[in-house]
Subunit: 383 residues, 4 copies
């Protein structure tokens, strides 16, 4: 079951860490720390093996993966020495990375979509892959402007045929993925496949899609703490989150338009799990000096018996690429399983991985995990 | 279903807050914040109502409950003004508090047990109670020295008859409770009913018991964070906990013998949920200036994909009495339900409430909650 | 040496706490915790005694001080019971609070200034005061728009005579104070007396002025930590500050225009003490649930020998009114001393108290303290 | 002015980082971050240059410095690649490291002292050094047992002549250093030169000594925060410090006897600067997983105006060797200056560098810095 993972943003930190990590796992150089799909609970589920994964992708930059891997080693994300022993595998992935086609950012979207479809089809055929999962790990986009073409597959096709540009970039890739017969995963809070037109297309083609916005750090912690308060009948009064981000992600999210998408997905867990709105909010600040690292500080006030006021604070110091990359592998494996198992449309059972799970309002990590295990075993069960 | 709650340590901060809170709930003066048993999940379960609860207990001190309640109001635990409007109810509870009988700490244990049995029986009969739950909220005791009489009910009866003192104080109360036909809950890490002799006695008499060590703060948070790391396949490397405690609890736990009991129960969750030992440990320091408040700081190092090292810290600032008191009410209600439902011996399904759940190795709060809900509905279902 | 303290914003939390506190100090009910001017270093300096202080002020609201004091007692700022025993003194201060005159916010500024002058003069004469210090503790204003009338006292007088509105509100009060022969202190980051025209006026009239923006919490800590890094030759790389504010101050500073003033003054210490710019910045978020309390979290990354990267974080949980009120008393006492000692114009030696010390670029708290002590002794020395 | 630095514990992490760093500075490969003596305030003071420093020392282990440096590079203390380009300099230092002579830990102390004297004299003469500063960077020792020979140089000489073992190890090195005409610095909390007998010897020989216990992290922060509270007249109520230490230092201080020395010196600053005792204390816990890194969490409660209770917490995440090594260079340079300038006995003006400054009760970092600058300029001034 050779499975292609096509990364949109293939030379970014998350993508590079994913490719390096998969190669290191195949070579038996590292344990699968952080890979959920390798937990005992999934023993026997017919997921594609790490040996079966083949990488390709699109990117707008052309720095080689080996060079990017060395930069990540300098930043402490990837062990020193690792890129050097994996150059053959990195070069192989490099050879399958294509420049983003003209028309993705401006110009003829219909033609751009066709070019992406051709890239995906070529990748699958040239390498003899059983299936391909397209994973969007590119920069967060601002929320999409509404467009009448979003409402149905037919309307979308017509608008594209008229030369319009109805799709945000992430959705353009989702559209092309579905057109090419590939499953689609949105690891960012961008729109991706979450438009009625694309949902319809996915169902028509029998393709699964998943998203949105990988739950890597602060929100992960919130997804267990918020249910804790709820189960203990403690009333949360305020929850204020501050995220200090370095690197490219920090710079992207310093853009007040783009951060809207991120803050929206980061805020969902609280109201869903607590059942009421709370003071506070999520704030993202760009601190270039942090590089590939991120620090989140959350401050929670809550009320107990007889109105006693108490406080919980936490500080999370993590490396986003290290946290995200194994989830990209997990998502590709689980989505390939879904595709093979005939799942079409959104896969709400993958909500465990996301801040804003498509098709689900469950944000309690424990419940999401139970759902994931049950689903994977059922989908993977012999017919 | 009039239910007595007999508090061992009835004039302590937790007990006083429990009595004040129950009275305030009955009077409709406060919401049931912090009371798990009032969550929607338990709608329809025939728990004794707050109106059905009657309080009594033992204590070695004789300060009145009204006075203790005022002290707690000065300390910010109980709203000012509340003790004043609840004096009638506090005085009623006061009238049912007995001095700890001679022989509980030294002297004739058999006679002491009989005196406790008489106090409990008198309480139940005088007030026409359907049943009584004895809850130990007194100071933490050191681990019990082994004694041959612990091995069976018969051996215990014989040792007591010979005038020996085989039981630690908490177990003496558990023994008397069971002898008097009362369910027993240990909210402390003391031995309580956890001896083969007492387990046998409970089963013989058809009485439930539960414990140990109410999970009020730091360990509560650990019971959701440790499973989070496990489910994300992140490898925890160290987990160091520091607890700054004021007040009586801090003074008790500054005793190096007594703190052994507490540290043992606080440490269980990690190894159970992570599946391996970690560096660190739990440390308790007495800071009198903190009064009724507690601050815990936990520092966790963990490893992610490709060996990346990351850190999570949290600071919990809570009031232990405010956190414990509603759980005492919950435990009394659920244990009364168990008693009524014919449950005999340990009640592992109450593990949600405890650091060291008797009869259970499950420490994941979410799993414990699911178990609790299912159990309560089943036990409470019409026959 | 009877000294009037005229509070602009006389019914706000800081002002109310100041009046309550001064009355409690006079009555010997509380120690002078937080009052710098009572430290041993100032023994022998002829500051006005707490018995010599008389309060008045302006405000736009008319809630009585007793009522405001009770609200602050409910919020835990002022001890319960204190307002009740000080009603006579609070009522006396209440009787000297005037509504803000028409023209301060819109309309004829010249007439408004005259009305304020009349209020101040009446206060001084009616109560037989030796001198009056006007202290601005009202809400933070946005930075003032430039106006040609700011350049000289003559230009200002002419603009006012022409019916123009050249002055921001804080400066209107400063102008009136100086016109009435009163010293002026700006406890906020508003413009206050910091215009060439008002500086000229202060010097002409022999009046001292001080400011700006009382250094009560986060910036106070920064004013010792930044010099610590500098003296140890450690290179600070980023310093990110997050302030969670409840209450009125939080609401005011949620206004993006007003917060500009505050952030500007909060940022000064770092560059001054470190000698270079750093990544990060100061962020203020409004969390109504915090009420009168504030939590600041600062995250600092720094570089040591051979490029080692390290981190310092601090969390400050304080009550701004409790921190500010004793400084208002200190500033009134020291400014009265300056006035009595013939100091005219800015008093840079009071920089210890301010985030943005007028006339000084020194932000190292230790140096500011040494300067303050030396100055007070010199100004207070017998001629 | 060729100056030898003789490191007791020459293959430890601090010593190795010191030697690597000095070599890197000489080679112009790194800036002098963390070196106080290079601050502008010391321009013109005739300190020995980095080019003038020559290293030797004693150690009980024999791992080569190059190997130790590579281990520190793996641990992230020293930049990767640096040991490789400095092998010549590391080998040169290695050649001057001698095994600890027999008799230092047990056996004939007089003979051991002579052996150390011979090593020191040989080092100075063989390399043509103007002077040698002996710096103790070995493991912390427990407090010394009192011995009559500590009272005077004569009593000490006689006890050694009688074959007794009156000196703790750190003092044996101090004795030998002074006997060999070398200045002595104790960077640890061990006894070192702080015995009347050794003080007398230092004064007789015209040799300076300094100590104790380098102020590298948590205590450094306390030495600015405690004066901040004092200057603001805020009353500190409790100050609880928790130190999580990995590596060798953590293992040493997990020994309850040795930690006594460390806790004693860590506690001095608070009482000295606050003027009264506070609840809390300093706690050290060994967390091997932290390796060369250390995390300290301090929790401070304080009282403000009208009794308001507030809290400050800080978390310091540092690398002790990176923090200590530049101070070792500073201390060697300043102590060489003192020696050259004829200073004999303790040098209290070096208190800036120490938790327990010999000859000084000043713990305010700002005051210590001012004293250091003034002293260095005076001692270094042309005659």
């Amino acid at each position: 079951m050779r499975t292609g993972i096509w990364l949109v943003g293939a030379r970014g930190s998350v993508a590079t860490t994913t490719v390096v990590g998969a190669a290191a796992l195949r070579a038996g150089l590292v344990p699968a720390t952080g890979c959920v799909s390798t937990l005992e609970a999934f023993d026997g589920v017919p997921l594609p093996g790490f040996d079966d994964l083949v990488f390709g992708g699109h990117d707008v930059v052309d720095t080689s993966l080996v060079k990017r891997a060395e930069q990540l080693a300098d930043a402490g994300v990837v062990p020193r020495g690792l890129p050097g022993v994996l150059t053959a595998e990195l070069d192989a992935a490099d050879a399958e990375i294509r420049p983003a086609p003209p028309g993705t950012e401006s110009g003829d979207q219909a033609a751009a979509a066709e070019a992406v479809v051709a890239d995906l089809t070529g990748f699958r055929e040239r390498l003899g892959l059983d299936r391909v999962v397209v994973v969007n790990v590119s920069s967060t986009q601002p929320p999409a402007a509404p467009h009448p073409a979003h409402s149905s597959a037919a309307a979308l096709r017509e608008a594209l045929a008229r030369g319009e540009r109805p799709l945000p970039v992430s959705s353009l890739y989702a559209y092309a993925a579905l057109r090419a017969g590939c499953a689609f995963v949105d690891f960012t809070p961008s729109t991706g496949a979450r438009l009625p037109a694309l949902d319809e297309l996915a169902r028509e083609r029998g393709l699964p899609y998943a998203g949105s916005d990988g739950k890597t750090g602060e929100t992960l912690v919130k997804s267990v703490l918020a249910p804790m308060f709820a189960r203990r009948a403690l009333r949360v009064r305020s929850w204020s989150g501050t995220n200090l981000l370095g690197g490219g992600d920090g710079a992207t999210l310093a853009d007040p338009e783009r951060v809207v998408s991120k803050n929206a997905s980061k805020g969902l867990v609280l109201e869903a799990e607590l059942g009421h709105a709370v003071d506070g909010g999520v704030h993202i600040h760009h601190v270039p000096d942090l590089g590939e690292w991120k620090t989140a500080w959350d401050h929670v006030t809550f009320e107990g018996f007889l109105g006693a006021r108490m406080t919980l604070q936490f500080t999370w110091q993590g490396c986003d690429s290290s946290l995200a990359a194994p989830l990209v592998l997990d998502l590709a494996r689980f989505t390939a399983l879904a595709h093979r198992g005939g799942v079409a449309g959104p896969v709400p059972e993958l909500g465990f991985f996301f801040k804003d799970p498509v098709g689900s309002t469950e944000h309690d990590l424990a419940a999401q995990y139970a759902t994931l295990v049950e689903w994977a075993r059922a989908v993977g069960a012999p017919a």
